[in-house]
Assembly symmetry: C2
């Protein structure tokens, strides 16, 4: 039975971290809301169900048989071993999950650069605050997070170019997505800092060249970044830092 | 060998979710930075290590032998089965983790009520923005999250008064902490809404009465809420909503 991924249609968003793992593994999955005749109604039906024993708070969530699993890091923790994208060792799987949760936190901060006050309002209604938050994000948070990820790559005792262990995991795929997203949203900030993160950019390049990922990125299944997603390019929020 | 918990001294903060699980289980643990002669130096030594293969991004983190595990939800996912505070079923453990990650997201939003623009600045430097963000938090986010948690309790097919399954898990303990924290930070908002969340408040009361938790709450190990933590009481941010 194929995995069922439930996420908003029309954006990469948080669902993309899950898609990259499913695509790399060549897994059999259905991106439910993009199926003809399904749409987001199928997603809301589960979220608003009054009989489902384990309702998710928000998308993305994954259905595997009767089990509904919510949150990107949790879905990847669940899928990782099944897809051959997690460390063999149980303890190291928790280390991988810790790295993924740091990515989760970073992605939430990316979102808040354009929605610092109220996620129910438009960006235009909180533009001044977004400028202030983005400036802090570019000057402090990007170096803090990317500097950390760079160190993780450097200190990997396997010296493998991977975030953990000596083989590709879902964490590497998520790092690819983070770097891609930041380059889209903050091209000036990223261009001015690129030289500081050689290992991160090397990992980004290595992931992009993997046959299944390259095929996915060239397919219509990979949506373009846009201003409805998490990573949004508003030129007024970007600066060389 | 006792578990070692690394977290900021002087606040409940995110570390408290881990402490509650360790205390309920009567586990042997050391709250490292509160040990005489240790302090936060012991924590930074690990975070800034250039040889440690798995460096954490931020506290809290847990050391169990050679393994260092970061992020609250990850620590609880790891400890849950060992402490008898997780479902037996592997799939349900992922459902529990999904609930805990929704709590994580909510706690991050609580933090941003007093730091909506820049976490490196003082609250006083972003007070106007904090008022706007808190108003949105009280009117939209508290009802959205607490309404969801209330539904989870109501729809638990075991009708057990627990967030998942028919026995206490770490998720229940975290819900206690969230309700306590919100009552401290936003007493007017919570008083005006209490009647809407009978199952949540009943769970809060049930957790507070558990012998190990009651003993912990009365001990000096339980710090008081204060304005350095996640849940801060700034009267100007609170309203009946």
């Amino acid at each position: 039975m194929p995995y069922e991924l439930y996420y908003w249609d029309g954006i990469q968003g948080r669902g993309e971290f899950v898609r990259l793992a499913l695509e790399e593994a060549g897994a059999d999955y259905i991106d439910i809301t993009r199926e003809p005749g399904r749409g987001t109604g199928a997603m809301f039906k589960i979220m608003e169900s009054e009989s489902e024993p384990h309702i998710p708070f928000a998308p993305p969530f994954l259905r595997d048989g009767d089990l509904i699993i919510a949150h990107v890091a949790n879905i990847l923790f669940y899928l990782g071993p099944k897809l051959g994208l997690a460390p063999e060792n149980e303890g190291l799987r928790h280390v991988a999950n810790g790295l993924q949760l740091t990515i989760t936190d970073f992605v939430a901060e990316v979102h808040d650069t354009h929605h610092p006050i109220d996620i129910s309002l438009y960006y235009e209604d909180q533009k001044q605050e977004a400028k202030a938050r983005s400036a802090a994000f570019i000057h402090q948070r990007i170096p803090k997070f990317l500097g950390y990820f760079e160190r993780v790559l450097e200190q990997n005792p396997n010296g493998s170019g991977h975030m953990i262990g000596n083989a590709l995991t879902y964490v590497d795929l998520s790092i690819f997505q983070v770097v891609e997203g930041l380059r889209y949203a903050f091209p000036k900030a990223m261009a001015s800092r690129k030289a500081e993160y050689p290992a991160l950019f090397a990992l980004r390049d290595a992931v992009a060249k993997r046959p299944n990922i390259a095929r996915y990125l060239a397919s219509p299944r990979r949506l373009a970044f846009n201003e409805d997603g998490i990573f949004r390019h508003y030129p007024e929020l970007d600066s060389a830092g």
